[in-house]
């Protein structure tokens, strides 16, 4: 039920962790009636770190957990000792003191605070400051840039150096979420197109958003940073080990907040470079498509694919939407209106305008930047001729290109 890395961890924790063993005996997975669950995963700490930041974070976390556990045990051992010894039932007569008296008592009363001061600002404080400076140093010797754009409810990745750009959405089938079929191994943590990064390279990650605040988080990278509309935030990762790393959006961003995972494939550099070349070739082929004339059937087929990936989360696969937040497209007044004006220009608040430029103050975002000419033309044509809409017209990618 878990990825390779998780499986080895689970196995290890089963051998060494008596608490996990106890929990597993008390709450075996079969008792929880989990469909397809093969083993109970009791993880008591961060997943295996694969970046310098994550390693440092885990180290600091372990150290601090130890410190606070010691504090907790010492303080409450004293309290519990008192609760046992100083009981009325054991005949203890109450003392009358209300504060420290004499130099010695003041000394003992102040010692704990001196220790705490030392723990706060020296023992915890100094390594923390060093770690912060390291975490925030996104620019020194950065090898490449990855731009991450959060949008409801998917991530767009862009490699500015090579011009590669794509959208990554949840790949878990709806039937698994609604419990109509058994859940897969990577339930909710799988995407149609993962982001690919080379190992051993310092990647400067720039984050922004097109609508609300999202947070990009991959636990094994030790990196969590908000994506804020209208602003750029940054962080960095240097992945040390090839593998598939999974995370999620961590800031409540609306309806499908729980359904926008992050999946990163970390591969050796040659493999990464080959992947970039393949992406470029693909993009070129797609761009070429914008200049030719598409048949209606081609547009409808492409449009259906785009719709299901980009639009269906809000407007629903059947186009009925979830009013009032997400209006129905079936029978929509915006769609069932002329495509363009007499001069072939966009009419304000028309179907084309809405898809390309969004609607301010709502979840309907502007897609002109995130979808290609072909995708825009296809999805507009598809929406005009589906869900009972029978406009019969279509728009060509070349037209979209000229309207931008």
């Amino acid at each position: 039920m878990a990825s390779c890395t998780l499986e080895t961890q689970t196995a290890q924790s089963a051998e060494v962790n008596p608490v996990a063993w106890l929990l597993r005996s008390l709450f075996p997975p079969s008792a929880l009636l989990l469909p397809g669950a093969a083993s109970a995963a009791y993880n008591f700490n961060f997943p295996e770190p694969v970046t310098p930041i994550a390693r440092e974070t885990l180290h600091i976390h372990n150290e601090f957990m130890l410190i606070i556990t010691v504090l907790f045990v010492v303080v409450f051992a004293i309290m519990i000792y008192s609760m046992i010894k100083h009981r009325k039932s054991s005949g203890h007569a109450p003392a009358k003191f209300t504060g420290p008296t004499g130099a010695l008592q003041w000394f003992w009363a102040l010692i704990p605070f001196a220790i705490l001061l030392f723990i706060d600002f020296v023992l915890m404080g100094i390594p923390a400051v060093q770690a912060i400076i390291n975490m925030e140093d996104t620019q020194t010797k950065a090898d490449m840039v990855l731009k991450v754009t959060g949008m409801q409810w998917k991530w767009q990745y862009e490699y500015p150096e090579s011009g590669v750009k794509f959208i990554s959405t949840l790949a878990t089938p709806r039937d698994q979420i609604s419990n109509a079929e058994a859940k897969g191994e990577h339930y909710l943590l799988e995407v149609d197109k993962p982001v690919v990064l080379p190992v051993g390279k310092k990647v400067r990650v720039l984050l922004t958003s097109t609508d609300v605040i999202h947070t990009w988080w991959v636990p094994q990278f030790g990196v969590k940073r908000d994506a804020i509309p209208g602003f750029l935030r940054e962080t960095w990762v240097l992945i040390e080990k090839p593998g598939i790393y999974r995370g999620q959006c961590a800031e409540l961003c609306g309806k499908d907040h729980g359904f926008m995972p992050v999946v990163v494939h970390a591969v050796p550099e040659p493999e990464y470079l080959a992947w970039v070349e393949a992406q470029k070739a693909e993009a070129k082929a797609a761009a070429g498509g914008a200049d030719r004339t598409w048949s209606k059937d081609e547009l409808l087929a492409e449009g259906k694919a785009v719709y299901e990936k980009v639009c269906a989360a809000c407007h629903q696969p059947d186009g009925k939407g979830l009013p009032p937040a997400f209006p129905a497209l079936a029978g929509s007044k915006v769609i069932n209106a002329p495509l363009l004006d007499m001069n072939g220009k966009i009419v304000k608040d028309s179907h084309v305008d809405r898809v390309m430029h969004g609607k301010a103050g709502t979840a309907m975002q502007a897609f002109s930047a995130s979808l290609s000419d072909v995708e825009l033309a296809a999805v507009i044509t598809y929406e005009r001729n589906s869900f009972g809409n029978q406009m019969g017209d279509m728009i060509q990618p070349a037209q979209i290109k000229s309207l931008r």
Partner: protein, 531 residues
Amino acid sequence: MSTATTHTAEHPAGEYHGGLLRWLTTTNHKDIGTMYLTFSLIMFFVGGLMILAVRAELFQPGLQLMKPEFFNQLIGVHALVMIFAALMPAATGFANWMLPLMIGAPDMALPRLNNWGFWLLPPAAILLTLPFTLALFGIGDGALATGWTFYAPLSVQGGMGVDFAILAVHILGISSIMGSINIIVTIFNMRAPGMTMMKLPLFAWGWLITAFLLIATLPVLAGAVTMLLTDRHFGTHFFDAAGGGDPILFQHLFWFFGHPEVYILLLPVWGLMPHVLSTFSRKPTYGYKAQVYSFIAIGLLSVVVWAHHFFTAGMPVPALVYFMFSTMAISLPLAVLFFCWIATMWKGAMTFETPMLFAVGFIVLFGIAGLTGLILADVAADAQYHHSYFVVAHFHYALFAGGIMGVMTGVYYWLPKWTGHMYSEKLGKLHFWLTVVSFNLTFLPQFFLGLAGMPRRIPDYALQFAEFNAISTVGAFVLGISQLLFAWNIWCCVRGGPKVDGQVWEGAEGLEWELSSPPPHHSWEIQPVVK
């Protein structure tokens, strides 16, 4: 939480209305205190039911019971109800009931304001929850779905539930500010002769700091949500980057209120603790002055640490370091309080009646909240904890084990004073043990969920989180059902039970214990003199 038993026959007839009108028009501090506490208990169950629905959905992976939209509404309204309609009114109810008794006054200083302050609460609670009902009739798309934090731009995008919540927060804020003014005026002007500020009971000190914090920070929240309202409806762009605004500005304004709010909820409880510990240890409070200065220090520090609630939003290194160190600094005055609590118990003659059990449970579990808070303050590790279930567990240790168990301590401690009857010790102890065990069963696993990487506020989760979530849900249901014992115990105690004298507890000291149980209608008609 008690009823009309405080109304003694000696009061001249004709001056007072009977029945419902009495409660609508009352200006008596005990009547109003009772209404606050009753309202608080009802809303505690309302907020609890909401979160039990959430926990039921999270019992297993997959969506079983509700749509994600509805899930998002439940979590946010749960928080607002618990904070503004359960915890804050409970503390205000305590203040109303106990302050005049403790400081030797006949009533609160501003009785009509007091009445108004309470009667603003029910409309606010209705505003907050009405969108759920309206949605059933097809009006609007339900309640606030942004979490209790209202973060823009999600809240700008939201439905009319956001407007309802904004107006509810305004009304609740006005009510709290009126209550605070009343408490400050009462403490400053109505103390018995001889009761100097440094002889003031610690409960009154705790509330005094809370009242100043409320007056200092609630207007900022009111301003922030008003800016949100105008962004939503009147085309302003305070939080919209496209119009020159900044979404992070909202987070700064919200948490400038939101962080002190934590101490607003906890200071009355910290004020109450020394009274309970000293009573059941039969020993005077240790370090009175140190506790007073700690309250003041925590109050001042609480308004300069707010940005630790959004470290992951990205800020310059000096800001990160400043907010980290200022947050850690709070651990020092807080440690003073822990030290004084334990030193008050040290070498006493302790007995463990229900209030003492809750007080000790509070100290231990709130200790976990304080220590995890210390590591959350650490920016270097915070990136992993932030927005995860680790934070959820942390603040429930602070606000359930700290806030609500603190309130329960007070209820059991003062209930005999309020009603003149003793509650059932047996039921009280059962309630305590069930609460402590099921509370830990609910929230301890959530620390591990957070460490393993489960984000908060998600309606469905990956399979590796299944086991801990199932345990947590089982714990939550036991915790919820156990609270029925609490309500039942209070109900029975109000209705009858063994009579108690004014002193109630063997080791109790203070003016409040010199009055009969229940106290006379106008509490201290002749001011006592404190030596």
